[in-house]
């Protein structure tokens, strides 16, 4: 297990570098792209008043000084105070995390549980009507803009047929439409990747061998094909999961879901630097955790990958 420990330590070190780089880029870009003060004050505030507020927020100091203060504070776990909410920024960002995870995980589960079986069946029954129908749907799912799909769901399923609430967060019924909307894209791309990965393996010699030695179709598909096709499926699934957690801005906006993507975008508009930093930090940590998990899963599924890792 010493190899695994070294591997983990190396990955954690890289993760820290990544976090530092991400924070720095966001710090610089945010400060170069605009000023929160005019957004806070009424439009008739005089220049002196602007300068006073800038001073109070520490925005009048040179950028390197602001950066040093920022880094020092982050190392102590202090992400600053939200300019918009007047509360600790990390506290604000973390209060959005449960809603984000709830929506992201459910959308992900819907996507995977539907997409993988569809992809497998499409591959086995290649060029059948079922395959064409499934892949046609996948194409539509992948190319429909999220806001359109979301509003369509609201108008048809919520308003016309009264099956679900239109928007907001509450019991499980509130979760269905946004999760389906958010999951649609991931579902489509996972289904397509699953299908092509399966087809690739189905063509391989060892599958012909397996069939030749008289194995049942289920064993061929489940044990030999799916397991060997798992790596690309796992990769796309992991990437999609990260995206579902971090990039759900439009879905969250359409369904008034109190998630972190929406918070991040609003904070960017408000130039609320500390909250942007906090949400990006959380998103980066989530991505790093997901990638790490994937790497470990690769090793479990395919022993060959273990040797190639440092």
């Amino acid at each position: 297990m010493r190899g695994f420990g070294a591997f983990l330590a190396y990955r954690l070190f890289r993760a820290l570098i990544a976090l530092w780089l991400v924070s720095t880029v966001v710090f610089v870009v945010m400060r170069l792209s605009g000023d929160p003060v005019p957004l806070l004050l009424p439009p008739d505030a005089p220049i002196a008043e602007m300068e006073r507020v800038r001073h109070d927020l520490g925005l009048d100091r040179p950028l390197p000084v602001q950066y040093a203060v920022f880094l020092g504070n982050v190392l102590r776990g202090d992400f600053g105070r939200s300019i918009h909410f007047r509360q600790p920024a990390m506290e604000v960002a973390l209060s959005y995390l449960p809603a984000t995870l709830e929506l992201g995980v459910v959308a992900f589960l819907i996507a995977v549980l539907i997409a993988v079986p569809i992809g497998v069946f499409s591959a086995i029954r290649r060029n059948s009507p079922l395959d064409h129908a499934a892949m046609g749907l996948a194409l539509i799912g992948q190319s429909t803009p999220t806001f359109f799909l979301g509003i369509l769901f609201i108008l048809v399923l919520a308003l016309r047929f009264d099956l679900f609430p239109t928007s907001g967060r509450g019991d499980w019924r509130y979760l269905v439409l946004p999760a389906m909307t958010l999951g649609a894209f991931a579902m489509a791309s996972i289904a397509r990747i699953t299908r092509s990965a399966m087809l690739e393996v189905l063509r391989a010699d060892f599958i012909r061998t397996a069939r030749a030695k008289g194995l049942g179709e289920f064993v061929v598909v489940a044990k030999h094909t799916l397991k060997n096709a798992a790596l690309p499926i796992l990769t796309i699934t992991g990437l999609q999961f990260g995206t579902l957690l971090g990039g759900a801005v439009v879905t969250e906006t359409v369904f008034s879901w109190p998630g972190m993507g929406r918070l991040a975008i609003q904070s960017i508009y408000n130039r609320d630097y500390p909250v942007v930093q906090s949400t990006v930090f959380i998103a980066a940590v989530l991505f790093i955790v997901i990638n790490l998990t994937l790497d470990i899963l690769y090793g479990v599924l395919d022993p060959r990958t273990r040797e190639t890792r440092p």
Binding site: P38, P42, R52, R86, I151, D162, F185, T251, V254
Partner: protein, 541 residues
């Protein structure tokens, strides 16, 4: 965020709309523009039309809760730290002011029962007795004095420190009297006290718990008191049972942010919410045709204008600005883009304000005259930039495109550029606009002093143009106690204004709300969202 789903990475505008963010800055012809507007409205309206609703429900209710969906969430409770419309819709209900501007535009007693000028620079207020804060403490003149002084106290660092600059000092000789001394005569002080910055906060509680805790758990004297807030999800308030003006007609009030227009309207049509704010013109008919809902509107106490950076050539030439104004077909804009939910203004004073002159005709549309003015000005096809936002004010980008096309029709080289909201704020601060830009001047006092003079006056945020006579009149009117003199001054200022057009006034739109039919609500023109007995009631079964 670190990664964007290709299908989910589009960035919605600050007040999201269904418009595509087309950065094509080439002007469209009028017909193309109208065609595009029709296609866009198909996406939202068309879908809504395609969906039919069930039979009419009863027009009364058992509900004891009012659910309001607004376009964005609040940011904070402390009323002295925000002037945004989402925030003040809530803070004006948790807190009271000394005076209250009702939907009819007149000032009424609130925490002050009477006020009078006892000397040219002294206002004396008699405060209401027996009023209790939500935590049970009694309200006294000490709270009022503390509150107003807090707005401009450097140590409090509020964001409304410019509201009461005319005040010299305040005395509270006894528990129910407040005396305000102004630096010069200020006829509009009671009006100033009725709007933002004027919300009265509790001295004892605030000093006891500190500003952070006060902001987290606000205590006011208003008709509703704070219960809980989950950001971007829901804000729950309950009716104060012993409110001094009588308990309001529900037990609970919940505010929900629903940023997108289509879901907000859908939530209303379906009956999930009782009232929505920011009902767009596209959806006005839809909401009224639905048997259980209706729209109510009030003419906005303000104007939508293209403010002009008159320091840039050729906008320093009044003739060019006259041509720009004459070339705009405002009637078409009201009819096509606003579906009639607005009026063509007649000058810089909003209809409904003090000293609005009803005898002036609406701003004219006269392309031949516009061409003649351009010729007279020696206009040499210099580009004139419209820096528009998307959704900063309703319909800003479609209006900018329409106006650019109208300007092209008379030979003005109009260029539309789209800028982000925060970029607009920055340019506003630096006064670095390249040409004209959208502004929605609000009449904070129901008087031209709180609108045209506040914004266009020397040192004001839109100080791009100076005119000695205009300045002398504006200054004299601010400190004059003679309403006849003030009226004449504003008439003269209007004449000068229409010659020089420091704003190119475009429209006075409606502020529309959608309601369940059982909700009786009279909106306030100045975006104040009162939930009080004088304007709100539920029709019970």
């Amino acid at each position: 965020m670190t990664a964007g789903d290709p299908a989910d990475g589009a960035v919605p505008p600050r007040r999201p709309t269904m418009q595509s963010d087309n950065r094509d800055s080439k002007a469209l012809s009028r017909r193309e523009f109208l065609g595009r507007a029709a296609v866009l409205s198909l996406t939202a309206t068309g879908l809504l039309e395609a969906v039919r609703l069930g039979p009419a429900a009863a027009q009364t209710t058992q509900k004891r809760e009012l659910i309001v969906a607004q376009g964005g969430d609040i940011s904070k409770f402390d009323p002295h730290f925000s002037t945004s419309s989402n925030d003040i819709r809530v803070s004006f209900n948790i807190f009271d002011n000394l005076t209250s501007r009702r939907p009819n535009g007149k000032l009424y007693p609130a925490l002050a029962t009477r006020w009078a000028r006892t000397a040219p620079t002294t206002w004396q207020f008699t405060l209401r007795q027996g009023v209790k804060w939500h935590n049970g403490d009694p309200f006294t003149s000490a709270d009022a004095k503390f509150s107003i002084e807090r707005t401009y106290d450097p140590a409090a660092k509020t964001l409304v420190s410019t509201v009461f600059t005319t005040i010299d000092r305040i005395e509270a000789p006894d528990a129910s009297t407040l005396r305000v001394y102004t630096k010069k005569p200020d006829p509009l002080l009671p009006a100033r006290l009725g709007f933002y910055g004027g919300q009265i906060v509790p001295k004892k509680y605030l000093e006891q718990v500190g500003p952070d805790q006060f902001n987290a758990k606000p205590v006011g004297t208003g008709p509703v008191r704070f219960v809980s807030w989950t950001k971007d999800d829901k804000l729950v308030l309950e009716a104060a049972p012993d409110y001094w003006a009588g308990k309001i007609d529900v037990d609970r009030v919940t505010f929900r942010p629903v940023p997108e227009t289509a879901p907000r309207v859908a939530a209303l049509l379906k009956g999930e919410v009782d009232a929505i704010t920011q009902l767009v013109p596209d959806q006005w008919d839809r909401v009224n045709q639905n048997p259980t809902t209706r729209g109510v509107g009030a003419l906005y106490a303000g104007l939508y204008v293209l403010a002009v950076n008159s320091k840039v050539k050729p906008l320093d030439n009044p003739l060019v600005k006259q041509a720009m104004s004459l070339a705009i077909d405002r009637t078409a804009i009201v009819k096509e883009l606003w579906r009639g939910r607005g009026i063509v203004p007649n000058g810089p004073i909003a209809k409904g304000d003090n000293h609005f002159d009803p005898s002036l005709p609406p701003l004219p549309f006269d392309p031949p005259k516009a061409r003649a003015r351009l010729k007279e000005a020696g206009y040499k096809n210099e580009p004139i930039y419209i820096e528009t936002t998307v959704g900063y004010v309703a319909n800003d980008k479609p209006m900018a495109e329409a106006i650019a096309a109208m300007w092209k029709d008379v030979g003005i080289n109009a260029v539309v550029e789209v800028i982000e909201y925060s970029v607009r704020a920055q340019k506003n601060r630096e006064r670095s606009f390249k040409g004209v830009f959208w502004s929605d001047p609000t009449s904070t006092l129901g008087d031209p002093d709180g609108m045209m003079w506040r914004l266009l006056g020397p040192g004001g945020p839109q100080d791009y143009w100076r005119h000695p006579e205009f300045d002398a009149l504006g200054n004299a009117a601010r400190f004059s106690l003679d309403e006849k003199f003030r009226g004449e001054a504003y008439q003269k200022m209007t004449r000068i204004f229409l010659e020089h057009n420091p704003w190119i006034v475009v429209i006075q739109p409606n502020e529309d709300y959608g309601l369940q039919r059982y909700v009786e609500f009279t909106p306030n023109p100045n975006q104040q969202f009162d939930i009080r007995r004088f304007n709100f009631r539920m029709r019970r079964a």
